[in-house]
Symmetry: C2
Subunit: 237 residues, 2 copies
């Protein structure tokens, strides 16, 4: 009785009081493998074009081939690796064409996301946005590029979340991460101006002005798109 780790029943008994208690089931191993591999790819430890041998990854991560296979397949559908039949997985090599297409779609979705945010934002939400913006300002002052990138991602994710459209938020999250990865060699998030635009955006959201929020976001996105587009060469070193 004492040794048993207590109830594991999941039925509809009278939990009333504990109803909100998160069950927190253990995430499958393949998820951990997915995260680990994604980290290796994003950090360029695994270079674009590189052949990923299942057995090697499995040994490196201390697991069997199966979870590695499953993680690789999810990485493919998310656009991080290419799975060539009978040849295996290769770290995806971004092309300029694809990068531009990604930026274009992201621009459209983020514009809509900003509109939704303006329509749904509570005062709480606005407060949070301002906190995130301040975090970015701090990183900017400290000239901490890493933190700035993160702050930028957080802010955009927060805007998407405020829009209350999960489908949209998830799509934006993926697109954002891919876009950032594509351009990491040349990114150095365009510093000062970019953050001034964020201030504008937050103001529009706070006013509940959907049209203006959308327009600001569109300008913001299109401008980054131009910035990238000018530096034609994506250096995949």
């Amino acid at each position: 009785m004492t040794s048993s780790p207590s109830g594991r029943r999941a039925g509809k008994s009278s939990l009333s009081a504990v109803a909100s208690r998160r069950v927190e089931r253990p995430a499958p191993l393949r998820q951990a493998v997915y995260d680990a591999l994604l980290e290796l790819i994003v950090s360029r430890t695994l270079a674009p074009g590189q052949h990923l041998v299942e057995a090697e990854l499995a040994e490196y991560l201390g697991v069997s081939r199966q979870p590695v296979r499953e993680a690789l397949q999810r990485l493919q559908t998310d656009g991080w690796v290419d799975l060539r039949p009978a040849q295996g997985a290769f770290v995806h090599t971004p092309t300029e064409e694809e990068a531009d297409q990604l930026l274009a779609v992201r621009s459209v979705l983020e514009t809509y996301s900003a509109k939704l945010a303006a329509e749904h934002a509570t005062t709480q939400d606005v407060k949070q946005l301002k906190r995130l913006q301040k975090a970015g300002e701090d990183a900017l002052a400290a000239a901490d590029a890493e933190r700035l990138v993160q702050a930028n991602a957080n802010l955009h994710a927060a805007v998407a979340a405020i829009g209350r459209n999960k489908v949209l938020a998830e799509m934006i999250g993926l697109l954002d991460r891919r876009v950032r990865w594509y351009y990491t060699p040349i990114a150095r998030p365009h510093s000062r101006d970019s953050w001034n635009e964020h201030a504008e955006l937050i103001a529009a959201v706070a006013d509940g002005d959907a049209e203006r929020a959308g327009e600001v976001m569109r300008r913001h996105a299109e401008q980054t798109r131009q910035t990238y587009h000018n530096r034609k060469n994506i250096e995949n070193n």
Copy 2:
């Protein structure tokens, strides 16, 4: 020599003459399983909420558990099933909230897609669109609901393809299919009016008028959204 199935080399030998020959590597089995399961889900042979037991599916399809597992995981990322840790796969049950979010995102993306199509369409492309429209008209005249749905999907896919943005086209394809599935019980694609709008759309694309094409598509999408939204009840029988 005779028994060996001839060359399988894929290197850069002097194929000059045959360079364009598609190598056509055999699609992995998991892809076939994915298709089969998706078909079963879309056709409602597997009902929303139903628990999918790997072993059963494997036996039914005549394969082992592994390809089934992999197919199920891709089905999850595409939104067709839910994978609960340590419990397995359940056919996804659409909620009204999610359906509306999906429709909203689709509306935004299709609007952009129409704009792109108007900017890129060649006379060839326009011809093809008109062919597809005619196919729809025929189905409408024959009162063949099944074919009408297919014609509708084809037309939208064609518009997306003309836009020359693969990322966008793929997203729209998935969204479209999910949306249609969500509403299959009540869909009966809104017949006559809907196809008149298609004619308008094609005209705008033919004129290369991006703004108009986008506007027409937005109206079209928003109108379907309203149509669905009115019939509140999603019957998941």
